[in-house]
């Protein structure tokens, strides 16, 4: 996973509420057996609308997406995160995210930033003309107009994103602890194993 700390650039002033992962990437794109190339299908339905932000040359290649409440609700498809990553998006800023989506985004090196609606409204304005600066280390979103918004992030997620760490590798480092749990649990709840004979 690539390390992530400072992201600066233009942002898609998207802002739509309750964007479900079917909108981020429709189901017919889920037939791939690879993680790459899904940017082509990102927001496919919305991109049929003339004047949509994703096809506006003004925002082409923006590393930041500004979204509305409850972004990424619905299906658990990680393809939504892969599609955003493939578009080149590294940070999504919204008033709230679905739990599953923000987990998926994080595991693909995408930072999800939660800010209050007033901050989102302001950033939507700025994004139309100017870049936005995200600093993970200091947990801030700033603009060249003195705007400065502080955000919260889970310390473990921050640590992994900053270091580009592979979570599976980290957990496998605790294989002994997992084995001890399994041995203890086999005594306490012997009926659980095996699940499939």
């Amino acid at each position: 996973m690539d390390k992530l700390n400072i992201v600066e650039g233009r942002a898609y002033p998207f802002g739509m509420k309750n964007v479900d992962t079917d909108i981020v990437i429709p189901a017919h794109w889920l037939k791939t057996i690879s993680r790459a190339g899904l940017g082509k299908g990102a927001f496919e339905v919305l991109r049929k609308e003339p004047g949509n932000v994703f096809d506006d040359p003004e925002y082409a290649g923006s590393p930041i997406l500004i979204a509305g409440d409850n972004f990424g609700c619905g299906s658990s498809r990680e393809h939504a995160a892969w599609a955003l990553a493939d578009l080149g998006i590294k940070v999504v800023i919204a008033p709230s995210f679905s739990d599953i989506f923000s987990g998926n985004a994080f595991k693909n090196g995408i930072l999800t930033v939660v800010l209050p609606q007033e901050a989102i409204d302001r950033l939507m304005e700025v994004a139309k003309t100017d870049p936005i600066h995200v600093d993970l280390e200091h947990q801030t979103v700033t603009t060249q107009f003195q705007d400065r918004f502080q955000f919260e992030i889970d310390p473990f997620r921050k640590h992994c994103l900053l270091g580009g760490l592979d979570e599976i590798g980290l957990t496998l480092g605790q294989a002994d602890t997992i084995s001890q749990f399994e041995a203890k649990d086999a005594g306490a709840r012997p009926w659980l194993v095996p699940a499939v004979a």
Binding site: I23, N70, S76, G103, T177, I178, R189, L192
Partner: protein
């Protein structure tokens, strides 16, 4: 004496492998269901890193999303090729990956095949008090049996395959209490839709729900599966029911459920799981059963719920500006106008199926209404898709297949079907479907498709009349026929 705990807290505590200073826990996963759509990249990741599946004996693979619901084998038993090369490729990947990593696969033409969330409970793979995950958001379904079950993304699928654990933060708890008795013609699906309508699709975000109160205690396991299934539509990754005598009766003698002395020990343990008297929930939502009526959705979010006897809401009636804009966008997409009576909305397609409503009780309820009747002339396609091969077999033994086909329905092979546009079962652009599935998102049933979420009974009613219909009227007629 330990502090009183909720069902969720008891399951959580029993699965903590390691607690970190920041509160993140490494949680052990007892059961992992794998399907063809969200697993190829996970197996690929393991292969690239040279990692095995840690516990193939706790893992079960079943294809469901991509499979056509037309016959899969010819008379000689040879596979009928899947027309879509990408669907065929995903199925082939699962068929290759499962044996390579030692995972048991229920094949596409096996009698036990079906939608993962129907197969898990049916096989007794799903058990109370377990942690169960699957790369599919409707994994919340398994909470009906008292399993802490939730959907995960593909990176987490890979993490569970490799380590049998997940790194998680404990969720907040929400009790959803429905007391009283459900009215005539009101089903578990209507309860689920009522909850989505009440709290909204983000209402449960960050929470694990527990369904409490007499309505849920009295509900069958099939009904509980429908309600738990739609927890995610209200934002909650998991929705739990306390295991009770109904749960035990449902699970006893299922192929993968414990047997003999193991069974007795398991039941004794399961009886300790219910939320303790005095345990605190972070949030409580109370709904009076008497207020729940047969519901339909009007828009493109499962929270867009109105009584079938109601009208399409006026976007101007919503308080905040972004909701008004969203409602107008939904109405434009759905081809509806504010004030239009829901019962005047005509439909061209009927879909009875999906992990929400494809179990035997759902099929029985729809068939009871359809018996001796025929679908309306304007219906272009009416599909009934059993949730598993075993549901199909049971339905056929009861003669339900004939009731459906005589009424003009197509009787199909088990799978996810028209719930999502991944297989040939789709609703064409601009056409309208009364559907027993769980999501009415834009394009969910195919590009441009328009979905109205309803119960199986309401889908059958719409099939008969050709428009959204208050099932209670038809049920009364039906009762009249019986009396006469």
């Amino acid at each position: 004496m330990v502090n009183p705990r909720t069902l969720y807290e008891k399951i959580w505590d029993a699965h903590v492998v390691e607690r970190r200073p920041d509160g993140t826990c490494l949680i052990y996963i007892d059961r992992h269901l794998v399907h063809e759509v969200t697993s190829p990249q996970a197996f690929e990741g393991l292969r690239m890193a040279g990692r095995p599946v840690r516990r193939p004996d706790l893992t079960l693979a079943v294809p469901d999303h991509n499979l056509p619901t037309t016959p899969r084998r010819d008379a000689q038993g040879n596979r009928i090729p899947i027309a879509d090369p990408e669907s065929a490729q995903q199925l082939a990947a699962l068929e290759r990956n499962a044996p390579e990593f030692g995972v048991r696969l229920i094949g596409d033409a096996d009698r036990e095949q079906g939608i993962v969330h129907v197969v898990g409970p049916e096989q007794g793979f799903t058990l109370p008090g377990t942690t169960l995950v699957c790369g599919d958001s409707h994994t919340s379904s398994h909470g009906a049996l008292g399993a802490l079950a939730f959907g995960i993304g593909t990176s987490e699928v890979e993490h569970v395959l490799a380590t049998q654990t997940l790194l998680l933060k404990q969720s907040k708890t929400m009790e959803v209490v429905v007391e009283g008795e459900l009215g005539f013609g009101v089903t578990p699906k209507d309860v689920a839709l009522a909850i989505c309508g009440r709290i909204g699709t983000a209402g449960g975000t960050g929470y694990v729900m527990e369904y409490r109160g007499s309505v849920f205690r009295d509900m069958s396991i099939e009904g509980r599966l429908t309600v738990a299934n739609m927890s995610i539509e209200a934002g909650a990754r998991s929705g739990l029911f306390a295991p009770d005598e109904k749960t035990f009766a449902y699970l006893k003698d299922r192929p993968m459920a414990p047997k003999g002395a193991d069974w007795d020990a398991a039941v004794a343990y399961w009886k300790t799981l219910a939320t303790d008297e005095g345990a605190q929930f972070d949030k409580t939502v109370v709904i009076d059963a008497a207020d729940i009526v047969p519901n339909v959705t009007w828009g493109t979010s499962p929270e867009d719920v109105v009584p079938v006897t109601g009208v399409v809401p006026d976007p101007e009636s919503f308080a905040d500006a972004s909701k008004r804009a969203a409602a107008q966008k939904s109405l434009d997409y759905m081809g509806l106008t504010a004030g239009q009576r829901m019962e005047d909305v005509t439909v061209e397609h009927i879909f009875i199926g999906s992990c929400t409503n494809s179990r035997i009780e759902d099929l029985r309820a729809a068939a009871a209404l359809l018996k001796g009747r025929h679908i309306a002339e304007r219906i272009k396609q009416a599909l009934v898709v059993p949730g598993s091969g075993l549901v199909k077999q049971q339905a056929e033994a009861e003669g339900l297949d004939r009731v459906f086909t005589e009424a003009g329905f197509e009787w199909r092979e088990p799978g996810c079907s028209a719930c999502l546009g991944m297989n040939p079962d789709k609703v064409p652009a601009g056409e309208r479907c009364a559907s027993t599935s769980n999501r009415n998102f834009m394009g969910r049933q195919g590009p441009g498709s328009r979905t109205h979420l309803v119960s199986p009974e309401m889908a059958a009613a719409a099939a008969i009349t050709g428009h959204l219909t208050d099932v209670r009227e038809l049920l009364k007629e039906k009762q009249g026929e019986v009396v006469a």
